[in-house]
Amino acid sequence: MIGERLPSPLSALAWEIWRQKRWWFCLSAALTIAAYVLNLCFPAAIRYTVTGYDRLLPINGFMVAGALLLIFGAFNYTGFNPQKEWTGLPYHLFTLPVKTVVLVTVPLALGVLAVETVFVTWAKFASTFHERISAPWMAVLIGAYMIFYQTILWVLAAFRSLRVITLALTGTSFVGVAFLPAFGEYISSPWLSEGFGMAMMAGLVVVAFFIAWSGVARQRFGGGQRRNIIRAWLDWAEDRLPRRERPFSSGANAQFWFEWRRSGRLLPLCLAAILIVVVLPLSWHLRHEPGAVVWILAWTLATPMILAVPIGKGFSKPDFWSSSLSVSSFLATRPLATGEWIVIKMKVAALSTILTWTLVLAFLSVWLPLWANLDSLNSVRVVLWMVHGHSVYPQYLLASFGFFAVALITWKFLVNGLWIGLSGRRRLFVGSAALYGFICLAGMITLTTVTNREEGAEPPTPYDPDRLVATVQWIVAGAVMAKFGLAAWSWRSIRRCRVQQYLWLWIGGTVGLLSGAGLIWSDGTLSALLMVLGFPPIDSLRLASLLVFSALLTIPLARLGLAPTALASNRHAR
């Protein structure tokens, strides 16, 4: 571009967005075209019938979500400001000879235009039958969310990664709002009409625009008196908290404290926020719904594990809050052996896990006896009571084993990627994150396809889950062999006493998990539960071997052995 003259600052802005995120746009377009071609491959009998549409819905649904998410990713139009230590609207744009209103309007307008283009293209596949949400209403919501999304990214610049929580909460609220007009079919209220919803959204969009404009304007002019009022308040609150004044007894203790303050407490804090903001009000609101308790319980139990995956990615880095993967001088010169550093990270992860699950337990012990409708949960308990010779104690034992297992899985997600994050290799780090994302997406597509298949038109011969389970059985057996083979290699250069210490822990934990697996499988408990919960029957011997393999795979072993070497090479690379 040197020597060339750009037509206008406005074009420069548009060009920069395109230039930075062109691959995201191309990928979104490619996904749309691929879906179009894929849909064309199916005969008209499938594409233009309700049952056929139902079968294609999971594939189309996930592809449209992917295409839209890519557009939202492309309009994550932010840059890191090292002076202010925030990630807001790219600060180099502040020097462009354009007014702030233009600086804000262009990305917002382009974002809305891009997301609406993708949506309109997709509407052909995704909204043909059973429209619970009409296409115009959906278009308004998607456009509005793009405005909210960019506003949150720019205005809450100082919160950096934590903005994801605000974005997720806003997104979840939008999903709820999307269904409001559908409730209007059952409840006669002018508040539940699409017209009112659109007017409300238009008003909120205008408010969001002004917030974005004023926020960016403040940042552009160097902040101002109220620039960091929330941060200042948080700092003030943190200063009032009791703080450590005693000297640390050892370098290891100091490092433990440091790791805990930087990253360890994040998981329990996030979980507490979700429990208070989402789960608690939801559980109260749905307290009379018998079926809701199972779903709320399942999500409450899954949330720590789900949170542990992204937090674990950050936790695996030398510094959670730094975008750099290399070990800073501050950390590299600590009087600590590399192996000891890894042990400290593992201990911090363990404390984080224990605290997180204590919070879950505390919530459950208040919610379940006080305001949960336990009818549907009790129907499962009755089955267990019948199977276990009319005793309730095996249920409590099963619940304890279940808690032990999910806590271990949470811990695993926190420490499993240490060897990647501490290695300092960005490609490996990004690649592993992409792999996680891909596995999650593929899993969700498979699950939805299978579920949809059950609900859709039944084939003449029922789907045989044993075939799938047999394949999974061999894949998991391969994973077990790979795990122990790799462990024998990865722990070769680690001190004998450390290997022994960890191996005893591993054996203890695994024996506990195997006992739980035995308890859930014995006496046909699992078969009975599958029957009661309406799952298709599965070969009980295959289930037993899967449970054993899962127990062997739960507690990390092989990849942990790679972490000290990875950290050592990163630490001494400078």
């Binding site: 019948m386 044993d466 062999m481 070769r492 029957p537």
Partner: protein, 287 residues
Amino acid sequence: MHKSLLILAVLFSIGAILLAGRHQDFRRIKGATNGNSWRALSAGRGTPTVVFESGAGSPLETWARIQSLVGRFTSTFSYDRAGLGLSAKGATPRDGERIAAELHAALSTAQVSPPYVLVGHSLGGPFVRIFAGMYPSDVAGLVLVDPTQEDLVEWAKSRKTTQPKEHPFRPHDEVDCAPLTFAQAKTCRLPDVPVTLITGIGPREIPDFLPASLKQEVQRDQESLYPAKLKFHQRWVESLPQGRIVITEKSGHGIPWEEPELVVEVIREVVARVRASPSSTIRRDKP
């Protein structure tokens, strides 16, 4: 390589290969009516063959805790009826005679030779009674595990104050076809073979975690339904020359899950009686 971990790796790899190959020996049997296949499970050796028939809507997993134990002393056969579990849909209506005919065809396709000791739970009870009436020479004994008795159903209907919700007759639904099945069961004539009926009138203790409404329902059942059930079961068994009733207060209707060992013991006893009977050898030779 770390030596101890290498040994562990070798051991776990052998274990993983052995475990990955473990599975139950399910068979796919071609159905007689429309060529679709059914899922079946055979275990054990010896005669007579114990054939299991589950209750309404239940797959063969109902017998998960029983079949392996019975398989230790004789041959066994369980299957998913058409349209249940992992079996394909069958012809309609799903009444007792059709189900008995399909079971008979399935047994001969699977080359499971008579004599059979038929074990039926709940609605499986009338099904095996109809089978015994239709193929008397193939049947050497019956074990009815808390069977649904047509007289009890009539009695319960007559006592109902509220009318159940009407819905159009679904010929593919065994429960909708149950009145047909009961009528067929009532008219069929059983062969003179050992018949043991297990009736569940318990459990007396009601778990604390049950909601109050359900507790009241269970108490009502214990006060009125169970005595009536016992009366009808006893009356029916007394009408059979080799009939016997086993009353359990430890289980309700879910005996296969609550007291599998009792079911196994009763089957063992019936099998022993069949083996002791001289006529069983004659039946065994029949195709």
